[in-house]
């Protein structure tokens, strides 16, 4: 575990030393602020209209109408940003030869994979921290429920974890970052929209496709529901992704 943490620490340090982390946090803040303002204004108009129609404030819910759409928007930004984080993880180490340092150090493949995973998750936490001031503002001027908000963050991290696990695996297959990034993006998008087809393929197929869709499992978290089904889905998805990555690194040794 200490070894994995050492790798994670190095990864995180790498993100912040090369300005990757700062660039991502900065541009995320711009995009995110834009979405926040737009959704906030839409929410404001909606609540004013509702008020005019004689419906009271209780009928519109801050969590449902503002925070939820908001995180769906954030997840779209992440769809684009995460491949940029994961594409270099292995591809860069292979290209520059530093993979030789890791593979000849007294570390297991799993420790390296978990370390890289935790490092990327650390960066995601840092990017998510950018959203905290906005959320804090909501608490100052209104009364959002904090429990669904917490489950939303939790679900969001789990969902990102799945994407990172897939991204690590794809990065471990190539030494070219552009290929890793492009393929990762395509796979993410596929996982995103896999349930669209379900509607046309009969009820049974629909169930299967909906179960496979990464984003479907996120929806309950935004409603404040902690369903073990979703947690198990995400946890097994991440574990399987990391397992595949470790196998891929190992097979590389054999193939040379």
């Amino acid at each position: 575990m200490n070894n994995a943490l050492a790798i994670a620490h190095k990864e995180l340090k790498g993100y912040f030393a090369s300005p990757i982390a700062w660039v991502m946090m900065g541009f995320f803040a711009i995009l995110y602020g834009w979405f926040f303002a737009a959704i906030l204004m839409a929410f404001e108009r909606q609540s004013a209209q509702m008020g005019a129609m004689g419906m009271g404030a209780p009928t519109i819910n801050l969590n449902e109408q503002l925070i939820r759409p908001f995180f769906l928007n954030v997840s779209v930004i992440f769809l684009f940003a995460l491949p940029l984080i994961t594409m270099r993880t292995y591809a860069e180490e292979k290209r520059s030869g530093t993979i030789e340092l890791l593979l000849t150090a007294p570390l297991t493949d799993v420790e390296i994979v978990v370390g890289k995973f935790l490092g990327a998750m650390g960066l995601i936490l840092a990017i998510l921290a950018v959203t905290l001031p906005h959320v804090a503002v909501l608490f100052v001027f209104a009364k959002p429920e904090w429990k669904p908000l917490l489950t939303t963050y939790f679900g969001f991290l789990l969902m990102s974890g799945c994407f990172v696990a897939v991204g690590l695996f794809i990065s471990s297959l190539t030494r070219n970052q552009i290929i890793a990034g492009m393929v990762t993006f395509a796979v993410f998008l596929m996982l995103w929209v896999v349930d669209w087809m379900g509607a046309f393929m009969g009820p049974r197929a629909q169930q299967v496709f909906e179960y496979l869709s990464i984003t479907r499992h996120f929806e309950d978290f935004t409603k404040g529901v902690l369903d073990t089904r979703h947690i198990v889905y995400y946890a097994s998805f991440i574990t399987f992704g990391l397992f595949l990555t470790a196998r891929s690194v190992d097979s590389e040794r054999w193939r040379g």
Binding site: H9, K10, G14, G97, E100, L103, A105, L107, R255, G256
Partner: protein, 323 residues
């Protein structure tokens, strides 16, 4: 300290290392010599646990590199061909990271890093980003990284490649200094390096070991025929014929002409010192003897001799691609 038995590594149909066996004793410096693409890097990668062999086994510091990789790696320091540096990290952070993944206890890390930096003379670059180091410093930081955990075995893949002459001498000195506490395997395709630093040489070509011996023995044994250089003035017209007639002499040829004085190369049967007879014959004929010295076959010639002989003996051997 290192025992390699029948090591073979195949990449698909191509055999990079073919039935290689050798041993390295504690504290010894073994030179791994061969042309580019001979299988040096592949062998070293197997020894360091980077990749498994297709066949055979390797034991490093008492641990099998396949069955007990973690224990073997803990006792091995490895400098790959390109030093594995992270360009965005500074030298000290990089070495601290290396120390942590090599299992150096937290309390010792700082002192170990400092010691390694002192030893490899990179302390003045501690705050510099690895990506901005010169080639010489990169190589030395790579060496510092290999030394950090005070390993029993050091595996250095072309440690002097790309260095300037002064740095090459410094690096060789450093390697010799390290030999007492560490067992060292270094690869090179530069021959003088081997005769200057190594106690024993493994010559490898096309994945096969063609010779294992000390540099001196190799020079002596593989000399084949012995050559003596003589310079005569005046040079008698029949000098070549007269010298050829001496017992033991196999061939006489012109070597060079310096200031109008002709030098001859006299080849004789190996193991037979003909210098006395040669001198006597020259003097009795009244020729002026300006110079007479044995010409030793240089390691370069032996190397070429061995590697070309090997390819002539096995013409069907597959072409070795450079990795």
């Amino acid at each position: 300290m290192i025992e390699v038995q029948h090591l073979t590594k195949r990449y698909g149909p191509f055999t990079a290392v073919d039935d290689v066996s050798f041993k390295v004793e504690r504290g010894e410096i073994l030179g791994f010599l061969g042309p580019n693409g001979a299988g040096k890097t592949t062998t070293m990668r197997i020894l360091t646990g980077y990749m498994p062999p297709s066949e055979g086994k390797a034991v490093v510091a008492g641990f099998d590199v396949i069955d007990q990789p973690i224990d073997a790696k803990r006792r091995t320091g490895y400098l790959p061909e390109t030093p594995p540096l992270y360009p965005d990290m500074n030298v000290r952070d990089y070495l601290m990271f290396c120390a942590s993944i090599k299992g150096v206890a937290r309390a010792d890390r700082r002192s170990r890093v400092n010691a390694a930096m002192e030893r490899t003379r990179v302390a003045d670059m501690a705050q510099r980003h690895c990506g901005k180091l010169s080639k010489g410093y990169r190589q030395r930081v790579g060496l510092a990284q290999a030394l950090l955990h005070n390993p029993d075995v050091l595996i250095l893949d072309e440690p002097t490649a790309g260095l300037d002459p002064k740095q090459i001498i410094e690096t060789r000195e450093l390697i010799k200094e390290l030999a007492g506490d560490h067992t060292i395997v270094l690869s090179t395709h530069i021959l003088p390096e081997v005769s200057q630093t190594c106690q024993r040489v493994v010559i490898i070509n096309k994945g096969r070991v063609v010779a294992v011996d000390t540099p001196d023995n190799l020079t002596a044994k593989l000399g084949g025929s012995q050559t003596t250089y003589v310079q005569l003035d005046p040079l008698g017209a029949d000098a070549a014929a007269a010298l050829s007639a001496l017992p033991g002499v196999t061939h006489v040829g012109a070597a060079d002409t310096r200031d109008g004085v002709v030098g001859l190369e006299v080849q004789s049967e190996s193991g037979r010192d003909i210098r006395r007879e040669l001198a006597a014959a020259i003097v009795t004929r009244g020729w002026g003897l300006l110079e007479l010295r044995p010409v030793r076959m240089s390691l370069e010639e032996i190397f070429l001799h061995l590697t070309t002989e090997e390819s002539a003996a096995a013409p069907a051997a597959p072409e070795v691609a450079n990795e």
